[in-house]
Symmetry: C2
Subunit: 512 residues, 2 copies
């Protein structure tokens, strides 16, 4: 029996269709194409693309029944076109990809089995090679959800993720890094902490992610202030010049599987404990960190809601870090209300600038928190007490050396810029005099996201009150910022349905 | 502040792009469109489409950066175009869909919480209204995987699925139905059983699904013999004329959520116990059944591998059926090897015809099994012993009345046709004399799927041996059938990697 290899078949001609399918590469094939008939492809088939330079890519197929394409053409979405570096009419061969064997491990995980090192490696390799469609990524993420991964499994997953990409080795005994598990809107201490630590002479090759399920990630916020899409080489240069950086990790192929999983986690709004630990630690290890501080905000509407849950998460972080030879310290912080005033990339950037510039109007909670986090890290590596560490951090802020360092890092990354301002706004005002008794972090985050954050950098929410504040009737409690009317409407509608976002105790009524 | 409602905005013009995105409706919008700017849409946004006739649909968006569309046009995929019944240049408004509140219940399920009636209803309603993207369906399916649903939850899910669609009421005390949980290739007893039962005067409004993770579902097989895409009204007519039907359930909106979930279950190759029970029972209840028989084949490479697992599944089926007021009986059958000769729609159809026509070459195992299943159902409703039931079923086959009834049902559904034959074949021959000691159902099913089944109806595998058979060197063990060379290659490659599909004990070696 003759076996037809793809190369023996007449090639198709590549055509760029200019369709942006985001991260999922997609191909378009005319129904009457000889390849459709000979290979039995149908819509949503996964196909392997081969170029004349033997580049490979696995993509989803859409069959085109109209006259969009000639019979011998194959259309490419933007991501597929760019990943293969194609030119118009390049010859293209399509074939069936090999069966994705590692999906049987995902199924085993759904059925509650413990996976091995090798099984995680084969899953992660297949993900990085683009063999998983989004539904497969969604199944893997969900199967690893809740506390379905043991500490050993998280260790295996972390190692597999590190191995799947580039790694950095700074040839230094001490490379520090920090991570906040998030869930606390506006808690953007990282740029301030990195500025303080590098100003104190430490090496901090900080790579951050974009938002997963929150209205802003550190990379989104930093992008309103400078360039963050650095290559690994550019990042190396910035760090060797300034001792630290504040870059987006996604362009560096440090744990690239993580970047792909995060795309789908965002759509699902699921961010599980095991994936969280593997995501954080794989990035730190790949970036060459030796000492890591994890900040876990705890509060009734934060991501981690109880001290018990925080202790469990902390213990897993410690165990996995120890398995991987990483020094790790966990710090639990108050997560009862937002930090600073802004929620959303540009609004948070304004708070950061105010703190670094010692603006008397700067949010004091953000300043104090950043000093404590930096202080804990200084204490960890310089053998100081936490109080001594915090004092050193505050001194560095007060003397302006942290601000100077921040500017130098921005310059090294491509230049400092001012964050954008949103034209569309909506103010929520107090309907009566009262005292603020409750602020719902989750509703605030949701409003900021509906307003367009983080995709629209200037969108978000500004909060003018803290727990315990007394407000007068008609005082502005929060201000929604949006870049367009559609999203502003959408956020306002949600706000109207959730008036409990800020609860006021009615002092007048109590007196009556 | 002014709120812009979609209707106040200038509409876009509908354009059919002829792109087949399968079941996921997709829209294409030019990057420079005023709607993109005012609403902040980006690629993969979920958007709500409104027509001038106030029809609504939620679809995924792809931004088009090329000259594919004019600035005031919006492109539609085939499924989106058809569902809205559009004409070229129809005015179209796009807006942000409401947040999908029920996704928080999916997340709760991921975190191991028990869901309520109302929570399942809101999930299922959102699914039926198209609010879930495929990744959300994948997360829901995975979260309900393994034995993550309690019997109460399965009951709630089943009821929610029944309520989400049409239901039939035959105004009869006795309406019977059957289901086989599958996993046993070639076990296509249903068309034979329905023919026997209706020939015996019972009412059997049988709707079947297409394959989920197997090489053929009963609907796929029946489609090679007659029309199966009946409307609810057509099905009612066929049943009132002939007492039974053999139709595909997907066009009838009987438990439509199930049809949508199955699309993604197929891509994931996950088919969980809770979803299985809810899927099966929701279809039966919606179709108006009062008495149901569940056939569970048990074998080391069947879907249910041990008696223990079968007992657990049977108990859940019983409890959920009792909660829903359904008479249900479970029958466990031998699942150690394929039934009949064919695996794949047309190949299985040939076996069915041979049994119904009392062909002496007909596969006796399929004949006997069908008689036993039909017998158990006759026993259940006619108060006979199982042996008496089986005898009655065999008599009905022998007298030709079952075959006559089958032809009449096919005629009523749109006419009988002969199953197709595949042009591409590959034979696996015995390399030595020996006795067949093991047949792997899963590998056989996989080969049939790689060969193109069920999408290519004539594709699949023909098995020429049974456990215990003695074969000579060069005897054909299995024959792969395919409709094109690409898929045949693919199946053969997999076969070569899995020679254990048929194990032969080497008699010569043993004698030596």
């Amino acid at each position: 029996m003759m076996m037809l290899t793809p190369e023996r078949m007449a090639p198709l001609k590549a055509r760029r269709l200019g369709i942006d399918t985001h991260h999922e590469p997609t191909l378009y094939l005319p129904a009457q194409s000889h390849v459709c008939r000979s290979e039995g492809f149908e819509s949503l088939s996964r196909v392997q693309v081969t170029t004349h330079q033997s580049c490979h890519l696995i993509a989803s197929l859409n069959i085109v029944t109209d006259s969009l394409l000639a019979d011998d053409e194959v259309g490419f979405s933007e991501s597929a076109w760019k990943r293969l570096g194609l030119k118009a009419e390049d010859p293209i061969w399509l074939s069936h990809p090999k069966p994705v064997q590692s999906l049987s491990h995902v199924r085993a995980k759904v059925y509650g089995h413990e996976l091995t090192d090798l099984q995680f490696q084969s899953i992660i390799n297949d993900i990085v090679e683009g063999r998983y469609a989004d539904v497969h990524l969604a199944a893997f993420i969900t199967a690893c959800g809740d506390d379905n991964l043991s500490d050993d499994e998280i260790t295996s997953l972390t190692e597999a993720m590190v191995k799947s990409g580039s790694t950095l080795d700074w040839q230094l005994p001490l490379v520090v890094d920090k991570h906040c598990v998030g869930g606390l809107p506006g808690n953007r201490t990282t740029p301030i902490v990195v500025s303080i630590l590098t100003a104190c002479g430490l090496t901090v090759p900080k790579t951050s992610s974009r938002a997963i399920t929150s209205p802003a990630g550190t990379a989104d916020t930093m992008e309103t202030l400078t360039e963050v899409s650095l290559s690994l080489e550019q990042m190396r240069e910035v760090v060797s010049r300034e001792g630290g950086c504040l870059a987006w990790g996604g362009a560096m192929r440090l744990s690239p599987a993580d970047d792909m999983l995060i795309q789908v986690e965002r759509a699902l709004d699921i961010d599980s404990e095991g994936q969280l630990i593997a995501s954080v630690l794989s990035k730190k290890i790949a970036a060459g960190a030796t000492h890591v501080l994890i900040d876990i905000p705890v509060g009734p509407t934060a991501k981690v809601r109880s001290e018990e849950a925080a202790n469990r998460l902390a213990a897993s972080f410690q165990t996995v870090a120890a398995n991987l030879g990483l020094e790790l310290q966990v710090m639990m912080t108050d997560g009862s209300q937002p930090v600073g005033r802004g929620i959303g990339p540009a609004l948070e950037a304004r708070d950061i600038l105010a703190v670094l510039q010692n603006d008397p109007e700067a949010p004091q909670d953000l300043r104090q928190r950043s000093a404590e986090v930096a202080g804990a890290m200084l204490a960890m590596v310089k053998h100081l007490s936490p109080e001594e560490g915090t004092r050193l951090a505050l001194d560095t802020l007060n003397q302006g050396t942290a601000w100077e360092k921040f500017r130098r890092i921005c310059d090294a990354q491509g230049g400092f810029r001012h964050p954008a301002v949103a034209p569309y706004r909506y103010a929520l005002v107090a309907e009566h005099t009262g005292r603020v008794t409750r602020i719902d972090n989750r509703i605030l985050a949701k409003i900021a996201k509906l307003a367009g954050a983080p995709a629209d950098p200037a969108a978000g929410v500004e909060i003018n009150v803290k727990l315990g504040d007394q407000v007068d009737c008609q005082d502005v409690l929060i201000m929604i910022h949006a870049e367009n009317a559609g999203e502003l409407n959408y956020a306002v509608e949600y706000l109207n349905e959730h008036p409990q976002v800020i609860e006021l105790e009615n002092l007048l009524q109590q007196e009556a």
